[in-house]
Symmetry: C2
Subunit: 132 residues, 2 copies
């Protein structure tokens, strides 16, 4: 079995992700982390993000914009995607029901997890549209 070894880069990636409320892509994180580690490699960012996903410490998802997003919040929750500014907002856990609670009829299989995305315009974008 493989034994993990500490790395300052991984620590930094994890911390960086923890302190952000957006849901950055690997590349967005890479840009941030380069401030602390100017010569970190993009490959290292990808490698560690995927490792953290495997370990269950973070989650990864795609919302249809062509790239993967990473989220430090691992417990079940949903996302609101603003099509105007691109922001991805976490929807509070209080809204969440268990997977089986969704079904009214018999399913074509056993669903372990589910993902729910809302697409529209966030309050901030709607307000700034009124102002102009």
């Amino acid at each position: 079995m493989r034994t993990l070894k500490y790395s300052r880069q991984r620590e930094s990636i994890k911390n960086c992700l923890m302190n952000r409320t957006d849901h950055p892509t690997a590349d967005a994180l890479y840009l941030s982390i380069r401030e602390e580690f100017p010569n970190i490699s993009l490959g290292t960012v990808y490698r560690n993000l995927n490792l953290l996903v495997e370990l269950g410490e973070i989650i990864k998802f795609t919302c249809g914009d062509g790239s993967e997003h990473f989220d430090f919040t691992t417990d079940q929750h949903y996302h609101f995607v603003c099509r105007t500014c691109g922001k991805i907002i976490d929807l509070p856990v209080s809204m969440v029901r268990s997977t089986s609670d969704f079904f009214t009829e018999e399913m074509p299989g056993h669903a372990e997890t589910h993902a729910l995305f809302f697409y529209g315009e966030c309050n901030h974008c709607m307000e700034s549209k009124l102002e102009s």
Copy 2:
């Protein structure tokens, strides 16, 4: 304004997608259509699929496997993704409780559309696991 012109390739792409219950990627469709048009270009498949999406005749979605899938069914419905065989099964909205029922709290914006995916194992895969 641009006026559409008929093309046998587009017709074939549309028919092919209409006659499939899976939700093929552009590449999967390309392989099928080459049986009828041996020298069709993958670019033509992409171009026409995106055009059909623009026209609202088909829809496009990603379920997290890194590529876009195309669906002839345009009315609102959900998807069940089997993680064992990769099959994507359409779920009529009637099968799932109205999503708005779950949201007691205020949303952080105005949601125009939403997408809901279930991930697990389909009945077929569960059965073949029992047999072996």
